[in-house]
Symmetry: C2
Subunit: 184 residues, 2 copies
Protein backbone atom coordinates (compact mmCIF):
# COMPACT_ATOMS: atom_id res chain seq x y z
CA UNK A 1 0.00 0.00 0.00
CA UNK A 2 2.71 2.44 0.98
CA UNK A 3 4.59 3.95 -1.91
CA UNK A 4 7.97 3.14 -0.45
CA UNK A 5 8.78 -0.35 0.71
CA UNK A 6 10.84 -1.71 3.58
CA UNK A 7 12.98 -4.84 3.73
CA UNK A 8 10.23 -6.39 5.82
CA UNK A 9 7.71 -5.88 3.04
CA UNK A 10 10.02 -7.85 0.78
CA UNK A 11 10.41 -10.58 3.38
CA UNK A 12 6.67 -10.86 3.77
CA UNK A 13 6.10 -11.13 0.05
CA UNK A 14 8.93 -13.65 -0.19
CA UNK A 15 7.33 -15.82 2.48
CA UNK A 16 4.04 -15.71 0.63
CA UNK A 17 5.80 -16.71 -2.57
CA UNK A 18 7.52 -19.51 -0.68
CA UNK A 19 4.19 -20.85 0.55
CA UNK A 20 2.76 -20.79 -2.94
CA UNK A 21 5.59 -21.92 -5.14
CA UNK A 22 8.41 -23.20 -2.98
CA UNK A 23 11.96 -21.97 -2.78
CA UNK A 24 12.23 -21.55 -6.53
CA UNK A 25 9.42 -19.01 -6.41
CA UNK A 26 11.43 -16.81 -4.07
CA UNK A 27 13.01 -15.06 -7.04
CA UNK A 28 13.80 -11.40 -7.28
CA UNK A 29 11.92 -10.37 -10.37
CA UNK A 30 8.69 -12.31 -9.72
CA UNK A 31 8.47 -11.03 -6.15
CA UNK A 32 9.17 -7.55 -7.43
CA UNK A 33 6.21 -7.87 -9.77
CA UNK A 34 4.09 -9.08 -6.89
CA UNK A 35 5.01 -5.93 -5.00
CA UNK A 36 4.54 -3.72 -8.02
CA UNK A 37 8.11 -2.46 -8.13
CA UNK A 38 11.28 -3.31 -10.01
CA UNK A 39 14.54 -5.00 -9.14
CA UNK A 40 16.10 -1.64 -8.45
CA UNK A 41 14.11 -1.53 -5.24
CA UNK A 42 15.15 -4.99 -4.20
CA UNK A 43 18.89 -4.50 -4.53
CA UNK A 44 18.61 -1.43 -2.37
CA UNK A 45 17.20 -3.43 0.55
CA UNK A 46 19.10 -6.70 0.01
CA UNK A 47 22.53 -7.72 -1.17
CA UNK A 48 21.33 -10.72 -3.17
CA UNK A 49 18.64 -13.36 -3.52
CA UNK A 50 20.09 -15.51 -0.76
CA UNK A 51 19.50 -12.72 1.73
CA UNK A 52 15.86 -12.60 0.69
CA UNK A 53 15.48 -16.32 1.23
CA UNK A 54 17.05 -16.01 4.65
CA UNK A 55 14.76 -13.12 5.53
CA UNK A 56 11.72 -15.19 4.58
CA UNK A 57 13.01 -18.08 6.68
CA UNK A 58 13.58 -15.77 9.65
CA UNK A 59 10.04 -14.51 9.30
CA UNK A 60 8.70 -18.04 9.29
CA UNK A 61 10.73 -18.87 12.38
CA UNK A 62 9.44 -15.76 14.09
CA UNK A 63 5.86 -16.87 13.50
CA UNK A 64 6.51 -20.02 15.49
CA UNK A 65 7.83 -17.95 18.38
CA UNK A 66 4.84 -15.67 18.11
CA UNK A 67 2.39 -18.55 18.32
CA UNK A 68 4.20 -19.90 21.37
CA UNK A 69 4.27 -16.48 23.00
CA UNK A 70 0.51 -16.12 22.58
CA UNK A 71 -0.02 -19.46 24.29
CA UNK A 72 1.78 -18.36 27.42
CA UNK A 73 -1.28 -16.42 28.49
CA UNK A 74 -3.14 -19.67 29.05
CA UNK A 75 -2.47 -21.18 32.45
CA UNK A 76 -3.76 -24.69 31.84
CA UNK A 77 -1.29 -26.77 29.80
CA UNK A 78 -4.15 -28.80 28.38
CA UNK A 79 -5.84 -25.67 27.10
CA UNK A 80 -2.51 -24.46 25.68
CA UNK A 81 -2.04 -27.70 23.80
CA UNK A 82 -5.56 -27.67 22.45
CA UNK A 83 -5.24 -24.07 21.32
CA UNK A 84 -1.94 -24.91 19.66
CA UNK A 85 -3.36 -27.88 17.81
CA UNK A 86 -6.42 -26.02 16.63
CA UNK A 87 -4.28 -23.22 15.35
CA UNK A 88 -1.94 -25.71 13.69
CA UNK A 89 -4.61 -27.77 11.97
CA UNK A 90 -6.76 -24.76 11.29
CA UNK A 91 -4.83 -22.49 9.01
CA UNK A 92 -2.98 -24.86 6.80
CA UNK A 93 -0.63 -22.02 5.85
CA UNK A 94 2.15 -23.20 8.12
CA UNK A 95 1.72 -26.81 7.06
CA UNK A 96 2.22 -25.77 3.44
CA UNK A 97 5.42 -23.89 4.23
CA UNK A 98 6.72 -26.63 6.50
CA UNK A 99 6.13 -29.12 3.76
CA UNK A 100 7.88 -27.09 1.11
CA UNK A 101 10.87 -26.47 3.32
CA UNK A 102 11.22 -30.04 4.48
CA UNK A 103 11.21 -31.23 0.90
CA UNK A 104 14.00 -28.77 0.09
CA UNK A 105 16.09 -29.52 3.12
CA UNK A 106 19.12 -30.28 0.93
CA UNK A 107 19.74 -26.56 0.97
CA UNK A 108 22.03 -26.05 3.94
CA UNK A 109 20.44 -22.81 5.12
CA UNK A 110 16.94 -24.23 4.86
CA UNK A 111 18.04 -27.34 6.71
CA UNK A 112 19.34 -25.37 9.64
CA UNK A 113 16.20 -23.28 10.06
CA UNK A 114 13.87 -26.22 9.57
CA UNK A 115 15.73 -28.24 12.16
CA UNK A 116 15.73 -25.39 14.63
CA UNK A 117 12.03 -24.63 14.21
CA UNK A 118 11.04 -28.29 14.37
CA UNK A 119 13.10 -28.89 17.47
CA UNK A 120 11.62 -25.80 19.09
CA UNK A 121 8.07 -26.95 18.42
CA UNK A 122 8.74 -30.52 19.48
CA UNK A 123 10.48 -29.66 22.72
CA UNK A 124 7.82 -27.08 23.55
CA UNK A 125 5.10 -29.68 23.23
CA UNK A 126 7.22 -32.22 25.04
CA UNK A 127 7.66 -29.83 27.95
CA UNK A 128 3.91 -29.34 28.16
CA UNK A 129 3.36 -33.08 28.40
CA UNK A 130 6.06 -33.36 31.03
CA UNK A 131 4.35 -30.57 32.94
CA UNK A 132 1.28 -32.80 32.91
CA UNK A 133 3.17 -35.63 34.51
CA UNK A 134 4.32 -37.70 31.55
CA UNK A 135 7.88 -39.04 31.60
CA UNK A 136 10.20 -37.26 29.11
CA UNK A 137 10.88 -40.17 26.74
CA UNK A 138 7.23 -41.11 26.60
CA UNK A 139 6.34 -37.46 26.00
CA UNK A 140 8.83 -37.08 23.17
CA UNK A 141 7.66 -40.28 21.55
CA UNK A 142 4.09 -39.06 21.58
CA UNK A 143 4.97 -35.61 20.32
CA UNK A 144 7.00 -37.04 17.45
CA UNK A 145 4.08 -39.25 16.49
CA UNK A 146 1.70 -36.31 16.66
CA UNK A 147 3.95 -33.91 14.75
CA UNK A 148 4.62 -36.58 12.16
CA UNK A 149 0.90 -37.09 11.77
CA UNK A 150 0.44 -33.35 11.43
CA UNK A 151 2.87 -33.25 8.53
CA UNK A 152 1.44 -36.42 7.01
CA UNK A 153 -2.12 -35.14 7.16
CA UNK A 154 -0.97 -31.95 5.50
CA UNK A 155 0.47 -34.10 2.72
CA UNK A 156 -2.75 -36.05 2.27
CA UNK A 157 -4.81 -32.89 2.18
CA UNK A 158 -2.41 -31.48 -0.38
CA UNK A 159 -2.88 -34.38 -2.77
CA UNK A 160 -6.62 -34.42 -2.24
CA UNK A 161 -6.73 -37.87 -0.65
CA UNK A 162 -8.34 -36.35 2.40
CA UNK A 163 -10.45 -33.30 3.14
CA UNK A 164 -9.49 -31.13 6.02
CA UNK A 165 -11.37 -31.60 9.25
CA UNK A 166 -9.49 -29.37 11.69
CA UNK A 167 -11.66 -30.02 14.70
CA UNK A 168 -11.63 -33.80 14.58
CA UNK A 169 -7.93 -33.84 13.72
CA UNK A 170 -7.20 -31.78 16.80
CA UNK A 171 -9.32 -34.15 18.88
CA UNK A 172 -7.44 -37.11 17.48
CA UNK A 173 -4.08 -35.52 18.20
CA UNK A 174 -5.13 -34.73 21.75
CA UNK A 175 -6.05 -38.36 22.27
CA UNK A 176 -2.74 -39.53 20.84
CA UNK A 177 -0.95 -37.22 23.21
CA UNK A 178 -2.80 -38.80 26.12
CA UNK A 179 -4.85 -35.70 26.91
CA UNK A 180 -8.60 -35.23 27.39
CA UNK A 181 -10.37 -34.12 24.21
CA UNK A 182 -12.76 -31.60 25.77
CA UNK A 183 -11.51 -29.17 28.40
CA UNK A 184 -14.89 -29.25 30.17
Amino acid sequence: MAERLSADDWAEAALAALAEGGLAAVAVEPVAVRLGVSKGSFYWHFANRQSLVEAALRRWEAETEQVIARLEFLDDPVARMRSLLERAFGGGQDAAISFRLISEVDDAVVAEVVRRVSERRITYMQDMLCELGQPPEEARRRVLAAYGSYLGMAALVRIGAMDEAPRSLADLAMAELGLPAEPT
Copy 2:
Protein backbone atom coordinates in the same frame (compact mmCIF):
# COMPACT_ATOMS: atom_id res chain seq x y z
CA MET B 1 27.37 -49.29 -19.32
CA ALA B 2 26.28 -49.72 -22.90
CA GLU B 3 27.67 -47.29 -25.40
CA ARG B 4 24.26 -46.51 -26.82
CA LEU B 5 21.45 -45.49 -24.55
CA SER B 6 17.71 -46.15 -24.60
CA ALA B 7 14.84 -43.91 -23.57
CA ASP B 8 14.51 -46.05 -20.45
CA ASP B 9 18.07 -45.26 -19.43
CA TRP B 10 17.16 -41.61 -19.59
CA ALA B 11 13.99 -42.19 -17.56
CA GLU B 12 15.94 -44.05 -14.90
CA ALA B 13 18.53 -41.29 -14.62
CA ALA B 14 15.74 -38.72 -14.53
CA LEU B 15 14.03 -40.51 -11.65
CA ALA B 16 17.31 -40.61 -9.75
CA ALA B 17 17.75 -36.89 -10.34
CA LEU B 18 14.17 -36.33 -9.18
CA ALA B 19 14.83 -38.17 -5.93
CA GLU B 20 17.95 -36.14 -5.28
CA GLY B 21 17.05 -32.66 -6.40
CA GLY B 22 13.33 -32.50 -7.09
CA LEU B 23 11.59 -31.62 -10.30
CA ALA B 24 13.98 -28.80 -11.06
CA ALA B 25 16.83 -31.30 -11.18
CA VAL B 26 15.14 -33.18 -13.99
CA ALA B 27 16.86 -30.97 -16.53
CA VAL B 28 18.22 -32.07 -19.86
CA GLU B 29 21.82 -30.99 -19.68
CA PRO B 30 22.51 -32.06 -16.06
CA VAL B 31 21.01 -35.51 -16.64
CA ALA B 32 23.00 -35.78 -19.85
CA VAL B 33 26.16 -35.12 -17.89
CA ARG B 34 25.11 -37.75 -15.37
CA LEU B 35 24.83 -40.22 -18.25
CA GLY B 36 28.04 -39.07 -19.85
CA VAL B 37 26.45 -37.96 -23.10
CA SER B 38 25.27 -34.71 -24.61
CA LYS B 39 21.91 -33.17 -25.36
CA GLY B 40 22.07 -34.52 -28.88
CA SER B 41 21.33 -37.95 -27.46
CA PHE B 42 18.40 -36.72 -25.41
CA TYR B 43 16.55 -35.02 -28.22
CA TRP B 44 16.81 -38.19 -30.23
CA HIS B 45 14.89 -40.19 -27.60
CA PHE B 46 12.53 -37.46 -26.38
CA ALA B 47 10.67 -34.56 -27.88
CA ASN B 48 11.27 -32.19 -24.99
CA ARG B 49 11.93 -31.92 -21.26
CA GLN B 50 8.30 -32.46 -20.35
CA SER B 51 8.42 -35.91 -21.92
CA LEU B 52 11.38 -36.78 -19.73
CA VAL B 53 9.54 -35.69 -16.62
CA GLU B 54 6.55 -37.77 -17.61
CA ALA B 55 8.77 -40.77 -18.29
CA ALA B 56 10.28 -40.47 -14.82
CA LEU B 57 6.81 -40.23 -13.30
CA ARG B 58 5.67 -43.32 -15.23
CA ARG B 59 8.68 -45.18 -13.94
CA TRP B 60 7.85 -44.21 -10.37
CA GLU B 61 4.26 -45.30 -10.84
CA ALA B 62 5.44 -48.61 -12.29
CA GLU B 63 7.48 -49.27 -9.17
CA THR B 64 4.34 -49.10 -7.07
CA GLU B 65 2.67 -51.65 -9.32
CA GLN B 66 5.75 -53.82 -9.14
CA VAL B 67 5.74 -53.81 -5.34
CA ILE B 68 2.07 -54.75 -5.32
CA ALA B 69 2.60 -57.48 -7.88
CA ARG B 70 5.31 -59.05 -5.75
CA LEU B 71 2.97 -59.12 -2.76
CA GLU B 72 0.40 -61.21 -4.58
CA PHE B 73 2.53 -64.29 -4.03
CA LEU B 74 1.74 -64.14 -0.33
CA ASP B 75 -1.56 -65.78 0.57
CA ASP B 76 -2.05 -64.34 4.03
CA PRO B 77 -3.24 -60.70 3.89
CA VAL B 78 -1.58 -60.00 7.22
CA ALA B 79 1.76 -61.20 5.87
CA ARG B 80 1.21 -59.10 2.72
CA MET B 81 0.58 -55.99 4.76
CA ARG B 82 3.60 -56.59 6.97
CA SER B 83 5.84 -57.18 3.97
CA LEU B 84 4.50 -54.01 2.37
CA LEU B 85 5.12 -51.90 5.45
CA GLU B 86 8.61 -53.26 5.97
CA ARG B 87 9.47 -52.52 2.37
CA ALA B 88 7.93 -49.07 2.64
CA PHE B 89 9.67 -48.05 5.86
CA GLY B 90 12.86 -49.83 4.92
CA GLY B 91 14.19 -48.23 1.78
CA GLY B 92 13.41 -44.58 2.21
CA GLN B 93 13.91 -44.04 -1.52
CA ASP B 94 10.22 -43.99 -2.28
CA ALA B 95 9.47 -41.77 0.66
CA ALA B 96 11.93 -39.22 -0.68
CA ILE B 97 10.35 -39.21 -4.12
CA SER B 98 6.82 -39.15 -2.72
CA PHE B 99 7.78 -36.20 -0.62
CA ARG B 100 9.28 -34.27 -3.49
CA LEU B 101 6.33 -34.91 -5.73
CA ILE B 102 3.71 -34.06 -3.14
CA SER B 103 5.40 -30.77 -2.46
CA GLU B 104 5.36 -29.96 -6.19
CA VAL B 105 1.81 -31.02 -6.77
CA ASP B 106 0.96 -27.62 -8.24
CA ASP B 107 2.29 -28.99 -11.49
CA ALA B 108 -0.75 -30.48 -13.18
CA VAL B 109 0.99 -33.56 -14.56
CA VAL B 110 2.66 -34.31 -11.24
CA ALA B 111 -0.65 -33.86 -9.46
CA GLU B 112 -2.38 -36.41 -11.62
CA VAL B 113 0.28 -39.08 -11.16
CA VAL B 114 0.63 -38.44 -7.45
CA ARG B 115 -3.10 -38.69 -6.94
CA ARG B 116 -3.32 -41.87 -8.97
CA VAL B 117 -0.41 -43.54 -7.19
CA SER B 118 -1.63 -42.50 -3.76
CA GLU B 119 -5.15 -43.68 -4.46
CA ARG B 120 -3.81 -46.97 -5.76
CA ARG B 121 -1.77 -47.55 -2.62
CA ILE B 122 -4.54 -46.49 -0.28
CA THR B 123 -7.27 -48.56 -1.88
CA TYR B 124 -4.96 -51.55 -2.08
CA MET B 125 -4.33 -51.41 1.64
CA GLN B 126 -7.98 -50.70 2.29
CA ASP B 127 -8.95 -53.79 0.35
CA MET B 128 -6.59 -55.88 2.40
CA LEU B 129 -8.19 -54.67 5.62
CA CYS B 130 -11.63 -55.35 4.22
CA GLU B 131 -10.47 -58.82 3.31
CA LEU B 132 -9.66 -59.21 6.98
CA GLY B 133 -13.18 -58.33 8.00
CA GLN B 134 -12.97 -54.60 8.67
CA PRO B 135 -15.78 -52.40 7.39
CA PRO B 136 -14.77 -50.21 4.40
CA GLU B 137 -15.05 -46.78 6.04
CA GLU B 138 -13.18 -47.92 9.12
CA ALA B 139 -10.55 -49.50 6.89
CA ARG B 140 -10.07 -46.35 4.84
CA ARG B 141 -9.84 -44.20 7.94
CA ARG B 142 -7.11 -46.41 9.32
CA VAL B 143 -5.22 -46.59 6.05
CA LEU B 144 -5.29 -42.82 5.68
CA ALA B 145 -3.95 -42.45 9.20
CA ALA B 146 -1.23 -44.98 8.51
CA TYR B 147 -0.24 -43.56 5.13
CA GLY B 148 -0.22 -40.08 6.60
CA SER B 149 2.02 -41.29 9.38
CA TYR B 150 4.28 -42.91 6.82
CA LEU B 151 4.73 -39.60 5.03
CA GLY B 152 5.07 -37.72 8.30
CA MET B 153 7.70 -40.07 9.66
CA ALA B 154 9.60 -39.73 6.40
CA ALA B 155 9.51 -35.99 6.95
CA LEU B 156 10.83 -36.24 10.49
CA VAL B 157 13.62 -38.56 9.42
CA ARG B 158 14.45 -36.15 6.63
CA ILE B 159 14.93 -33.24 8.99
CA GLY B 160 16.84 -35.33 11.49
CA ALA B 161 14.28 -35.02 14.27
CA MET B 162 14.00 -38.78 14.34
CA ASP B 163 16.27 -41.67 13.46
CA GLU B 164 14.82 -44.40 11.32
CA ALA B 165 13.69 -47.54 13.06
CA PRO B 166 12.00 -49.48 10.25
CA ARG B 167 11.08 -52.49 12.31
CA SER B 168 9.37 -50.69 15.14
CA LEU B 169 7.67 -48.29 12.75
CA ALA B 170 6.22 -51.22 10.86
CA ASP B 171 5.05 -52.73 14.15
CA LEU B 172 3.41 -49.46 15.08
CA ALA B 173 1.68 -49.16 11.74
CA MET B 174 0.41 -52.72 12.00
CA ALA B 175 -1.08 -51.93 15.39
CA GLU B 176 -2.74 -48.79 14.06
CA LEU B 177 -4.23 -50.82 11.26
CA GLY B 178 -5.72 -53.20 13.82
CA LEU B 179 -3.52 -56.11 12.82
CA PRO B 180 -1.32 -58.42 14.94
CA ALA B 181 2.28 -57.29 15.06
CA GLU B 182 3.93 -60.68 14.82
CA PRO B 183 2.66 -63.23 12.30
CA THR B 184 3.60 -66.07 14.67
